[in-house]
Amino acid sequence: GLGDKLQATLKKLRGKGKLTEKDISDAMREVRMALLEADVNLKVVRDFVNAVKERAIGADVLESLTPGQQIVKIVHEELMNLLGGSTSRIAIASKPPTVLMLVGLQGAGKTTQAGKLALSLRKSGRHPLLVACDVYRPAAIEQLQVLGRQLDIPVFSISGNQNPVQIAKQGKEEAMRQGRDLVIIDTAGRLHVDEKLMQELKDIKAAVMPHEILLVVDAMTGQDAVNVAESFNSTLGIDGVIVTKLDGDTRGGAALSIKAVTGKPIKFVGMGEKLDTLEVFHPDRMASRILG
């Protein structure tokens, strides 16, 4: 990974004292390469490398660390600063039900994560109701119903209804009637540049006032991750992010880009297709993964 590349680049410097400007720029080129190969956004890489450079200039090359290790240590710390400092908890409303809304691009993993969240939060004592607001994708409602059956968690839907705002509203009312204290709304995948569908999300938000809007993002997303996250955040407002398919081998730089640009916490990660694969986000593991 980056550690080995930096060792090779800077191996002549052991115990030499301070790192020179040339040593630093050679090392920064390696850091930039590693982050771009990990799909971190170009602008985020630029800012990040500058921050690392500031710290690296004048850094003492300790006897106990080779200069390569020294730089990696700085990079790791800076990644942790960017990725960390956030909570993986879902804020439970003082007056139930707590309403969660999942949004994101097509195929990101929203419906599956809705099921995972329902299971995970039931384990911590909640009584979830899943609400099927994807009226467009063939068999999307059935997909959520199958998950609900597997978990023995109720799913609210209105067959033949093409109005997700109505479904969301009635779903929340149904939760209150049934004494379910947690509503998880699954929405249809959509493009951040689809004005009509982004307006639909705003209408759902206005109708049910979610306590948390979670952006679901595929871990293998490339440079476009920043456009998507910024767009959803500025148009709709998001409270956190779920990064999915992290059981793959993608480095996942999109996670760093999104956190850096929106400042919103990454709350959970999806680590598989089964419903018990939702995990709390670990910034240190993500940092190591991004560095390869």
Partner: protein, 277 residues
Amino acid sequence: LLSGRKIDEEMYEELEDLLIMHDVGVTAATNLLRDLRRLVKDRKILDGEGLRLLLKEIISNSLGEKKPLRLEPGTLNIFLVVGVNGVGKTTTIGKLAQRYKEQGLKVMVAAGDTFRAAASSQLEIWAERAGVYLVSHADGADPAAVVFDAVHSARAKKIDLLLVDTAGRLHNKSNLMQELGKIRRIIDREAEHSLREVLLVVDATTGQNALVQAKEFAQIVPVTGIVLTKLDGTAKGGIVIAINQEQKIPIKIIGVGEKISDLRDFDPQEFAEALFE
């Protein structure tokens, strides 16, 4: 942005940034720019506009000629559709089914995803929309059994084109990749010489991992083409340039929306043009 400006180093850096921002990746971008510098010298290009047109030409040429999907008339053709989770395999099959049905072919689709919730129901709806035959088993059935069943049914019904849907799978899951290998062997054994295309579906929003996907899937099945989906978004799918450079797999089809008609043949020149928009 580049026209009217004389060529300088800053211009090459801007072009490298543009390529990276479109997920072409550092290695492939470096290769393209090396070719660009050489041709700028050979052709004595002097200004920014010339530079831009030349890079477009290099990209377009690297992607090769337009490659249509292969279909032999008068016999059973099988397309196997594979890829990681959520990229658009099932939807693409619906689109392909409609296209070939409209061309007068007898089309059948096989619901090879027996794992994911409501996967067969999803394909069933597409089959209905396209007006084509469907072979599916109950959820949890062995996907190999569905494929076996579909191939025999296709031969009995004298089907021209059988589209086989498979479950999304991450390439680092060896058991799932082995399952895919088994599906391919069944097709080859039960319908020798009928497997015409193995299409790897790649989501245009995917970054560098698509390179690994192409490499790993091609080890297990003979990938003959890439379908690049979701190009109606803001991502340009530049990673296919890198896939093409490294794996030499042609891009054949693009997905440009969620409707059944949102399918187009891949056009290298249009693709190269779109990178610069």
